[in-house]
Symmetry: none
Subunit: 203 residues, 2 copies
C-alpha cells in the first residue's frame, strides 16, 4: 500500500499519536492532541486526522473513542534515533546526560515499543563482549526471562547483568569472574528497566 505525501505538520501530529500510543498504551483524544500542539479548535484536529487517514497513514474507527491507529512503521526520518538516557555501570544510578542526546541505530535492532540506549561503563560484562564504552540498545520491559541480559535498578543503582530467577529471589550475574553476582531479595528495591537487544561499538 503506497502512502500519500504528508506535510511537516501532519507528520508531527502523526509522530505524536504514535509516540503517545506507544508510551501509555492507548491513543490520544482530539482534545489532548489539540492541547499538545496548542490548538484551540477540535475542528483543526479533525481536519488533520481526515487528511492523514486519506493519505493512508492513519486508521480510524467510526465514532470510537481513542481509536486512532498509525499504519506501518514511522516515516523515514534519518536513522532511527534513540534517546541516550545516560550511563550504566555497576553500583551507580543511571547518570543523566546534559543534553537530550541520541544515537543512530539500525531499525532491525530496535524492539517493539519504547527503546533507549545506554553507554556501558566498567567491565562487568566483558565475558559477553560488552566492553567499557559500548552502547547497549535496550527495549523497555519490566519482565525478563532467565539468562537475558537486562538493565536493572537495585536500590536505586543501575546495572547491566544476566537475569536469573532462583529460590528466594533473583540473581544478577556478571560476565566477569572478578565481579560478584548481585543477590536480589524482597528487602531490595528492584526493578527491571529493559532487555538488552543490541550492542554497538564504534572503533
Amino acid at each position: 500500500m503506497e502512502k500519500g505525501a504528508i506535510t511537516p505538520k501532519q507528520k508531527a501530529m502523526l509522530d505524536y499519536i504514535r509516540e503517545f500510543t506507544e508510551s501509555v498504551g492507548y491513543a490520544p483524544s482530539q482534545r489532548e492532541i489539540a492541547d499538545h500542539f496548542g490548538y484551540s479548535s477540535l475542528g483543526t484536529i479533525q481536519n488533520y486526522l481526515v487528511r492523514l487517514e486519506r493519505a493512508g497513514w492513519l486508521e480510524r474507527s467510526w465514532n470510537a473513542k481513542r481509536a486512532l491507529k498509525t499504519i506501518g512503521a514511522a516515516p523515514a526520518g534519518g536513522g532511527y534515533e534513540l534517546p541516550m538516557l545516560g550511563f550504566v555501570a555497576a553500583g551507580r544510578p543511571i547518570e543523566a546526560v546534559e543534553s537530550p542526546d541520541t544515537l543512530e541505530v539500525p531499525h532491525t535492532m530496535v524492539g517493539r515499543g519504547e527503546n533507549f540506549v545506554l553507554r556501558v561503563q566498567g567491565d562487568s560484562m566483558v565475558g559477553d563482549g560488552i566492553l567499557d564504552g559500548d552502547m547497549v540498545v535496550v527495549t523497555k520491559s519490566s519482565h525478563a526471562n532467565n539468562g537475558q541480559t537486562v538493565v536493572a535498578m537495585v536500590d536505586g543503582e543501575a546495572t547491566v547483568k544476566h537475569f536469573h530467577r532462583v529460590k528466594g529471589g533473583i540473581e544478577l550475574r556478571s560476565a566477569n569472574p572478578l565481579v560478584p553476582t548481585i543477590n536480589v531479595t524482597s528487602d531490595n528495591d528492584f526493578r527491571i528497566e529493559g532487555i538488552v537487544v543490541g550492542v554497538i561499538r564504534h572503533c
Copy 2:
C-alpha cells in the same frame, strides 16, 4: 523504465530532494529547494521539476503539496545498507554468501569510501569484545596503522587481527591468548582488505 539524461544541476536538485525526504520524512517545498540552492524564483524550480519528471526521475501528483517522489534506487529506511561479503575467520578465505545480502548499519559508523560488513567466526578476537557471530563494519583500505584492527588476507586466507609492523615483517596479533600471532614475511601473499570501524551485535 528507461530514464532520460539529466544535467549536473538537475541531478544535484534530484539528490537534494532525495536526501531531504530521507532525512525528515516528507518532501521539500519549492520554496525550500529554491532557498537551498540560492534561487529567487519559484519558476526556476518548477522548470527543473518539469524536466526531471519528463526524464523519468521524479514523480509528481497534481497540485499536491510536498508530493515530490524520486524514482529509482534509494535505500528505504534510515540505515545505511552495506554489502555483507561473507564470513571471516582465522585461516579461511572469505566465504562468499549466496545472495547479495546487506546489513543495515548506522550512518555514523560508516567510513569514507567503500564499506562492507563481515560476520565473524571464531573467537580469536574475544579479548576485544568481538565475538563469534558479530558483524564487523569494515572501511576498505590497503593500509593500516599499528594497533588497528584489520581484515587481512594471508596466502588466500582471511582473518581479523591487530596489525603490527615489526622488524622483518608484519605481525597479526589476536586478542585471545589461545590463538597464536600470525607472522607475515615477504614469503607470504599478504593484503589488507580494510579497517574495522565498528562492531554490531543483535542479542
